[in-house]
Subunit: 315 residues, 2 copies
């Protein structure tokens, strides 16, 4: 029986993690409002610890462990922000962390995970290689697995970003997040349902990898496509913990073009002076590509992270 | 007789401009602290209106005008942030602004100035061309000239950034700004002398264009060198309004290398997710290149602006 978090778990997460993560600032831009016809509020999780909202879920999961559970440490497989987040949270609690990473992971991400004191286990380049190595590592160490998105406490933790946004900006018509594995969207949906039920919750996804949009519509979890996207962190499965929440509390998932993502990313860098990664630009792009939905609305967007490459330029 | 602003003028400026500029957030970074051995507080004027602290001085100067003075509008010569700031401030007050710009000004800056509703007058590519065209424009229109850095109200307005920083972070040992024309440094010096006299005020400058450092040492205003620097907004003269303040209240002006500026800029982009322009990176570079001064100190730095090119990469 899968245990599904509720609003009270988001509130509990907020209390549990408050000394370990930033209450990130919100930003507005008259230019963005003029260009989109919406009144937009951006929650800057790119300024969060480890540069992404993932610090929230990882801290909640790590600090929710009992002493007995925590004794053997935690483990995960990720080449992205969740790996850094688990390493960061485990370091704070002073327990070992094992991160299974693909051999082609960007060296800056490897260095960051190492910098937080985690042990890295290399595992080929395929997802199934990582899963096999993770299984082995869990058996060896007795560590607790912290899934990037389909984990009770991770989902509740991610919901704390929207909780803060909805406290800071009451009366939002819509709150929107990117959707990849579904942890942020599900947590956001719990937060909104609990503290601002009149606010609609939406997800935004690259149209080349529209598995979440199709899953949402059809009520079954589809695998992500193999198509490329600049927002490659979003190419992951929804799961059985977050999908029921998304189906119940999310009003729609929209898709956006690759060109729209890049243009939105550039706009935020150029006009708001905030470095955001491509995934964060996905909901911003939705404002431009779906004006019928957003014009005239007060829209909160969670800028999910800022770990963009500074050596390659997308425009 | 040159009229020199005092601390009370900074306080008056703060009140005059409070509805027209952002109270910008401050940021800290454990990484930056660990790397520099200092405790660093960054005041994010890159998130200010027009993307730079220049909005403060321009708003103070424009709103300090009497109705009679304002009737014929304002004018300035600048290809940089001050041009946008004057255009922005004049637009808010609803008076005409004339900006004399060089024919090789970056098109994005031209578009920004136009976007705020200012009239652009083109004037060759040399400083003396611009000065001649400005003289003519002032005669034609009867507009009031707002100098970028050597203006009573501009200096007082720029001081409001440090005023906020020193309110938000009491007990700073040092507050440091980049120095080009000297308006920000002089305003900062007034603010610190008035509200936190135990705080030392320092300027930082590219070593290839070290006229302010030499002027400070020798007590005479030297012209800027013609040497190139990535922080090209700093290649300007000190003036007779700001220099006496700098001589009286600033404890030192240090210089930094070009490589240091670029590395510091990248560090802030990469670790703090804030887009800053090269000039803003100059005081950050000073933390690394002058450890003897800054280690163990609580140092506030004004990140002066975020109008960096996104099409060329310095690293």
């Amino acid at each position: 029986m899968v245990r599904i978090p509720v609003f009270a778990d988001v509130l509990e997460a907020a209390e549990r993690i408050q000394n370990h993560v930033h209450r990130t600032p919100g930003f507005t831009s008259l230019t963005l409002n003029a260009l989109t016809g919406a009144e937009v509020f951006l929650k800057a999780e790119n300024l969060q610890k480890v540069g992404a909202f993932k610090a929230r879920g990882a801290c909640n999961a790590v600090f929710a462990l009992t002493e007995t559970e925590a004794a053997h440490g935690v483990a995960t497989h990720s080449s992205g922000n969740h790996a850094q987040a688990v390493a960061y949270a485990a370091g704070l609690r002073g327990i070992p962390a094992t991160v299974v990473m693909p051999e082609d992971a960007p060296s800056v991400k490897v260095a960051a995970v190492r910098g937080y004191g985690a042990r890295i286990v290399w595992a080929g380049t395929q997802a199934q290689d990582r899963e096999r190595r993770l299984e082995a590592a869990l058996e060896e160490t007795g560590a607790i697995f912290i899934h990037p998105s389909n984990n009770f406490h991770v989902i509740a933790g991610q919901g704390t970003a929207a909780l803060e946004l909805l406290e800071d900006v009451p009366g939002l018509d819509i709150v929107m997040t990117p959707v990849g594995g579904g942890g942020l969207l599900a947590g956001t949906a719990l937060a909104a349902a609990g503290c601002s039920p009149q606010t609609r919750v939406m997800g935004a996804e690259p149209e080349t990898v529209d598995d979440a949009a199709r899953s949402f519509r059809d009520g079954v979890i589809y695998p992500p496509t193999n198509a490329p996207t600049v927002a490659d962190g979003l190419r992951t499965f929804l799961g059985d913990v977050n999908f029921p929440i998304i189906r119940q509390h999310v009003s729609d998932i929209v898709t956006v073009s690759e060109a729209g993502i890049i243009a939105a990313m550039r706009l935020i860098w150029e006009r708001m002076k905030l470095i955001i990664e491509p995934s964060s630009a996905v909901p911003v792009a939705a404002l431009f590509e779906h004006p019928d939905i957003f014009q005239g609305q007060r829209v909160g967007i969670i800028l999910s992270g800022g770990n963009a490459s500074l050596d390659t330029r997308l425009w």
